[in-house]
Amino acid sequence: MDKEHLNMRSLDVGKLAALNNYISDLSDPEGSLINILHRAQDLFGYIPINLQLHIARKLKIGAAKVNGVVSFYSYFTQEKTGRHVVSVCMGTACYVKGAEKVLHAMLDELGATKGKATDDGQFTIRDVRCVGACGLAPVVTVGEKVYDNVTVDDVKRILDEYRGEKRGH
């Protein structure tokens, strides 16, 4: 781990303040660690090591414990995500209808690695657990937007919708 990981000053002050406020309103902060991490990820987009350390100090618990929880749950990410997070549902209903092909087509189209932001920082393609919208399988979500009955042929069109955008989300 390099020093940059532990540079607490690289964390956005405003966001940190919002997180601190959230924590101080909790009656059982340590027992609410998962809720706190959700809030942190909402604010920062991901939960880097220094942020985990900040939370650990705030709750007066070991950083290893925080990291143990962050790394245990698939919903939390320690990696910076791209501007657009494309989630391909990998529930069984989507799988039997070809979600795996859609995922590979997405990765091929962008030359990306699953779960890692593309070099230009525009996209992160990831597979997610069943989103419970099996009637629409295969399902792809980009941010809040849901795409239903996605086939390999739709991949380029979907990505193109976001490629031109210059502003952040």
Binding site: L33, S74, T92, G132, A133, C134
Partner: protein
Amino acid sequence: MTERMTILVCGGTGCIALESNEIIAALKEKLADVGLTEEIRIIRTGCFGFCGQGPIIKLQPDNITYVQVGVEDVNEIVDEHIVKGRIVERLLYVNPRTEELVKTSEEMDFYKKEYRIALRNLGLINPEDILEYIAMKGYEALAVCLNERTPEDVVQLIKDSKLRGRGGGGFSTGLKWELTAREESDEKYIICNADEGDPGAFMDRSILEGDPHSVLEAMAIGGYATGANIGIVYIRAEYPLAYKRLQIALSQAREYGFLGKNIFDSGFDFDVEIRLGAGAFVCGEETALINSVMGRRGEPTKKPPYPSVSGFRGKPTSVNNVETLANIVPILLNGPEWFSSIGTDTSKGTKVFALAGKINNVGLVEVPMGTTLREIIFDIGGGIIGGKEFKAVQTGGPSGGVITKEDLDTPIDYESLKAIGSMMGSGGMIVLDEDDDMVELAKFYLDFTQDESCGKCTPCRVGTKRLHEILDRLTRMEGSPEDLDLLEDLSYNIKYSALCGLGQTAPNPVLSTMKYFRSEYDAYAYRTKRIAFKIIEDKCIGCTKCARVCPVACIEGSPKRPHVIDEADCIACGACYDACPVDAIERP
């Protein structure tokens, strides 16, 4: 002034994804334009169930259901149906068998066998308005329990109903409550397990989105029966809409005094808090869930002690599934005899199934226990997409197995499904057709479980990984016949030695597919399976590049015309795939 007509618009996750919120906005705008805002009421309801036909809207009192409605249809619905009273026929459901137009949901095959208990209010009331729940006798059962019954009475009523846990295990709910009630403790808890981790099941999400008060009321009743004053809903973070509706319901229930201190002047205090999950399948296991609720890694612990003795914060805790809780209020309102008159000898009441996969009518359906798979898949589900051959239905998710044609007439209950090598699970049914490869399916599930294994015990952590490796080897045609013995041995080993339910059931998809589709495993193990690349006719431009690179000359076709791969000779080397400039070649 009273409204003359009500428009019910589905506000479930599926329909919202298909823009049902935009439909509501457009309806409001259009009704304002024609000056009918006062006369027509719009209600955003919970899930109607028939997700494959979404967005669905229903007009009352005319009792007309429109399917696959788009924003662009709104003007016509208002101008024709609402203003002139003429049904918009092109938006009616077409019965695929008879090709007749179907006006009401009651006449659709999908709903004909339905018996709604847990889903009773879905598609009927606005889940964000507590008054609508109260109008459906909401919180009446709680009032009766608190003022007229002792906690022991309530436990006895639930025991008499013979309700069993709908999350998969099928343990008696009344008994579970009794075990917690029996413990002496200064504090007890009741937890609602809304961490619906089984991929392909979405009944819990739909109930929380469509009727959150029924779950909250049942938790308060369960709290009273077991002696708990705090309830916790543990819900998946992947379900933002259910979370939001639950929060709204919670604050409304508090406002009306149905939760909080001294409920109905009975002296009973009860409140509910929500904790978010974060994506861990193992948290469906109750000890793991309790750890996660406490903000820790969701690892299971050894039982005993059971949660009914030592659960959340070391205190007696009962953990109940969403669908189970949704059954509590109707049981108390209608009596346990009513409930136990429905279903089979061992399994009473109804079960909600989520139909998905290669089936025509995708959606949620609630039927009496004892309904056969054939009725569910063919009568309700409308059979297989594209008229293909039914191969199997997968139930019980990553812990379950496949059920084949031979067992389609089995009446469904907890015991019968176990007897044919699968399990009820939470009620997800993934229908598979002739094209589905069962070894690939087993690999898919093992990929899931080895990823979801919490790592605490070796049989599960290492065992599922090895199972996945063997399956992967087989599907890459690099395995051997010995691998099949190894698969079976290892599966039984894991089954009998893993710590918790996740590990013990993880090999089920392998064992079950091996039992019914051994020949598919043999074809991989003996490397006799034919795998071939295929050219998609519509995409092929006839450039001849593939034919030129094929090392075994099995691609034929004349220039500028679609080419064809002789599947018998193809060695699946992939050279054509790489050479094709227009992505017209499909990998096997």
